[in-house]
């Protein structure tokens, strides 16, 4: 596909997502419009009111209902979108599992915000981590451009015949959602062509093969979300896991195709100066941009630092991460969430698994940072990298978990 002409504009992360969804023009957007909702659905509802999209906009009484409405719409074959954050995502929890288990390719944008109590509207990744095992694909974005780009790519990933899973597009609360940045946007028709129509896989229904959707006319009868005990339930779960693994390839394929169109290539991870790095910072989201600046400053000071940003947190790209960190001796794993009482932060547990059982692996340290929106600066990242190097030199036993920027 040939590179297309793009328009360069200034937009906040929230606006960029709303704009992308306007261009995709899903059939149904259902959302609870009050806090912790963000500007995403507010702006989208403007598009609806102004007649710029033909989407059915359902303002609904809770996030639990918002996702339920999306489940209903997607089960009927529609494209369904919603957005939420923190407590809103927590309230959806029950339905998250239903959406993924029914294999409904819903796209939902999560503006990552801390969970109460205390009440806090700022960024951390606790909300998304709570949904980690719900069977949704989780893609974390670094900036407004990536939020826009991923809100478009997500449909192709979710709806791919080998995947058929819902996708969460995660962007950092305030740090991306409320930060205005320059972004490049595609023409409407190019986005429409890229996402195309939702393809429906064919499955066995009550009377032979039918498209995977509930048919109210009854001409192509099909049941979804039925009863399955120990005779079948396990097989369903195994299939979901297979779909997750298949998504690894699809995320890369879609990212490549999108790159050919836009010049912006996306994959499972984002590597920065890792080839010769003696220390790598690994993490999710917007702070990895700050870490890249820190890596440059460290290099100016003679420390070969690099950054590995995990874009696809679920499915987790184990092989890709292992390959990217080959030769890196010291790794600082950044977690913007806690697993209370767990052996380490959630990302750290995955990172430890990546190297488990290998003869050689890096020395890894875990750093918990940024909870409830606590800012993390370039200097903080430099200090983390230096601390990790120092610890590695002195010798690390076990898996140290440290806190950055918290009062002791």
């Amino acid at each position: 596909m040939a590179r297309v002409e793009q328009r360069r504009i200034g937009m906040m992360g929230d606006e960029a997502v709303a704009y992308a969804i306007k261009q995709v023009e899903p059939d149904v957007v259902a959302a609870y419009p009050i806090t912790p909702q963000t500007i995403i659905v507010e702006r989208f509802s403007d598009y609806v009111a102004d007649g710029l999209v033909r989407t059915e906009f359902v303002a609904i009484e809770s996030e639990h209902s918002a996702l339920s409405a999306c489940v209903g719409a997607a089960a009927a074959g529609a494209r369904a979108f919603t957005a939420t954050a923190s407590q809103g995502l927590a309230l959806m929890w029950e339905i998250l599992y239903i959406a993924s288990s029914m294999r409904l390719p819903i796209v939902m944008v999560i503006v990552n915000r801390a969970l109460s109590a205390p009440i806090n509207i700022h960024c951390d990744h606790s909300d998304a981590m709570g949904a980690r095992d719900s069977g949704w694909i989780q893609l974390f974005c670094e900036n407004c451009q990536e939020a826009y780009d991923t809100a478009i790519q997500a449909w192709r990933i979710a709806e791919h015949p080998d995947v058929q899973l819902p996708v969460m597009v995660c962007l950092d609360g305030f740090v991306v959602s409320h930060t205005l940045e320059d972004i490049e946007v595609l023409p409407d028709e190019v986005v429409k062509e890229f996402v195309g129509e939702r393809p429906l896989v064919r499955v066995m229904g009550h009377e032979g093969e039918v498209p995977y959707r509930l048919d109210p006319t009854g001409r192509e009868p099909l049941s979804m979300g039925t009863f399955a005990m120990y005779d079948l339930y396990f097989e369903y779960k195994r299939q979901q896991e297979e779909a997750m693994r298949a998504a690894l390839k699809v995320i890369e394929e879609v990212g490549r195709e999108y790159g050919e169109l836009t010049g912006r290539y996306y994959g499972l991870i984002d590597q920065y100066k890792l080839e010769d790095a003696e220390v790598a910072i690994v993490g999710l989201g917007s702070s990895m941009g700050t870490a890249k600046d820190a890596a440059d400053e460290l290099r100016d000071e003679g420390i070969r630092a690099g950054v590995l940003r995990i874009r696809s947190f679920r499915p987790f790209p184990t092989e890709t991460v292992r390959e990217a960190l080959k030769g890196v001796k010291t790794v600082a794993v950044m977690d913007r969430a806690l697993s209370f009482g767990g052996p380490a932060g959630p990302l750290m547990m995955d990172m430890a698994t990546v190297f488990y059982g290998l003869k050689e692996g890096p020395t890894m340290l875990n750093y918990i940072y940024g909870l409830g929106g606590r800012d993390i600066s370039t200097d903080d990242f430099k200090a983390v990298a230096q601390d990790a190097l120092r610890a590695a030199e002195e010798g690390v036993e076990g898996l140290p978990v440290k806190f950055v920027g918290v009062r002791e």
Binding site: L180, D293, T378
Partner: protein, 184 residues
């Protein structure tokens, strides 16, 4: 990269000023960010907003701790805390009817530290807008003091973002602020 920190009070349009600077820069083909202090927003409480403008893509996503430029929208906020972290060769753009030498004393700013640009934006805003809304005036003075964006780019984004009647008066205000801001 130029890093700008704006000080004002909740409701004075501090964040809008930062965003308009960023939008003007983007219009000129530059890279930019505009964002609020990630804290509680209350009417009348001291608030911050930030803008970054660069010729290269901006990756950093934290607040600004060592600004090149500090702009103060509200004269009652003038105190040593607004110059915290300001670079030695930094620029201060202040809304005040006082003389630069007096302002240096209020801010606890040593000789040779920073350059002060001053504008009685409150008076100017009351004259033109009929209200003490100084965000666009200080934004314009910042543009003049730094050369980070042109007056015409600011005018263009004001026309684009504000409803016509609001835009018209603000255009007058930014033009006058651009002309009348004085360097110490």
């Amino acid at each position: 990269m130029i890093e700008i920190r704006l000080h004002g009070r909740g409701g004075q349009g501090v964040w809008t000023a930062a965003n308009l600077l960023a939008l003007a820069a983007i219009r000129e083909g530059k890279y930019a960010q505009g964002f609020p202090f990630f804290g509680p927003e209350r009417l009348g409480a001291p608030v911050l907003a930030f803008a970054r403008i660069s010729d290269k893509p901006i990756r950093v996503h934290c607040m600004i701790y060592r600004p090149d430029v500090v702009g103060v929208l509200d004269p009652t906020l003038l105190s040593p805390s607004v110059v915290e972290g300001l670079k030695k060769d930094g620029i201060l753009v202040l809304n005040s009817d006082k003389e630069p030498s007096e302002l240096r004393e209020i801010l606890g700013l040593e000789e040779g530290m920073g350059t002060i640009w001053v504008l009685d934006a409150s008076r100017m805003a009351i004259e033109i807008l009929g209200r003490e809304i100084t965000n666009t005036a200080i934004m314009s003075a910042v543009a003049r003091a730094t050369g980070a964006v042109s007056l015409s780019s600011l005018e263009a984004v004001i026309k684009e973002r504000f409803p016509p009647n609001v835009a018209e008066k603000n255009l007058e205000l930014v033009r006058r602020a651009y002309e009348e801001v004085r360097r110490e």
